[in-house]
Symmetry: D2
Subunit: 114 residues, 4 copies
């Protein structure tokens, strides 16, 4: 079992050892999360999920890790508690997508019938 | 202290209660991570980091949480151990960016001098 | 003076000579536009606009062209008239951002005062 | 037949009437292209191309137009000739993807066999 704080420490120690926090304005970290998300997405360009899963396991691990690494850096910059923000957002999502209405439906909450 | 497995369980229980895994092809989860990353980035459109941090704390929490929620779902689909993929990628990054060369430099590893 | 239809023809001839239309599902073209937009954005990662404009003219040309190339392909797939969709969207934007309210303001239309 | 310069003029007149060029740093325009590309991509989230084409024609027109509008603004900021950058990039792509090797193949140029 891993504490998320341990992961966050490892990620932030990596950048502090390189004295990189000076470059890590939050706007650039948000840009970086988008860039890494698109490198992950690029693995799926022109392909279906099955083909990618069968052939790109290592790249999937690397690119998903990069998204998480920048997300942990931005959370640290913002002094966010990861458990708190995830649990709070899940609670909001539970309100927007009540089980009885959302079960088995891919509709956006704005399209769920009253 | 929070175990990351606990967060992952909460996120994946949320979608399983709604029977959403049928829609969650990995390609669409990768798309969703990019979409959420861009909703986070949108907070910074036309603005500098300071202005956003002063005025958009709740939106920052929500949008960063959404990125993490979809990343935890994709990691679960792929049966990835989050600690393992993050620690392995940090190790790769340490090779690409040795402290003595990378310290205080924002250059890409392909541009670091020999 | 260049007709936009001439540009669209050149772009679509490029892919037809390579028999690529079979891979160009609209969802994948939309993914590709996002990927190219992020390669363009990557030029600005950790940097301000002035630095990028002073040092990355060729990359800016290439990456912006890639965004446009995929956009012209998707427009062709969808049989959209480029002038028509751009002029129609500008008209919608004029409604959302009337000059007297929007002039000199970076606010979103949802935030413009009544 | 439409001259692309006419479209570019219409787009840039729209922002100049609102005195928006002061906000339009190139970095923020690049961010905006990514944001609009993701709004276009969002139409395809959880769906296949056929479903989206059958149900979302107007949204497709609007979102693709938004990508093009910001691309035309950035091109204007950079004083790029659209025909020139597109034709020059197509020529580079022809070198990377010669017809005899690339025909009928979705491989990246780095993966095309010698």
């Amino acid at each position: 079992m891993t504490h998320i704080e341990t992961l966050s420490q490892a990620v932030n120690q990596f950048r502090d050892e390189r004295d990189w926090r000076q470059f890590h304005k939050e706007k650039d970290l948000a840009i970086s999360i988008s860039l890494e998300a698109n490198e992950l997405l690029e693995l799926f360009q022109w392909k279906d999920s099955e083909t990618v899963l069968a052939n790109k396991q290592e790249s999937l691990r690397d690119e998903l890790a990069d998204v998480l690494i920048y997300a942990l850096m931005l959370a640290d910059n913002l002094d966010f508690d990861l458990e708190e923000i995830i649990m709070a957002k899940l609670e909001k999502n539970r309100q927007k997508y009540p089980i009885e209405k959302a079960k088995g439906s891919a509709k956006k909450y704005t399209e769920l019938s009253e």
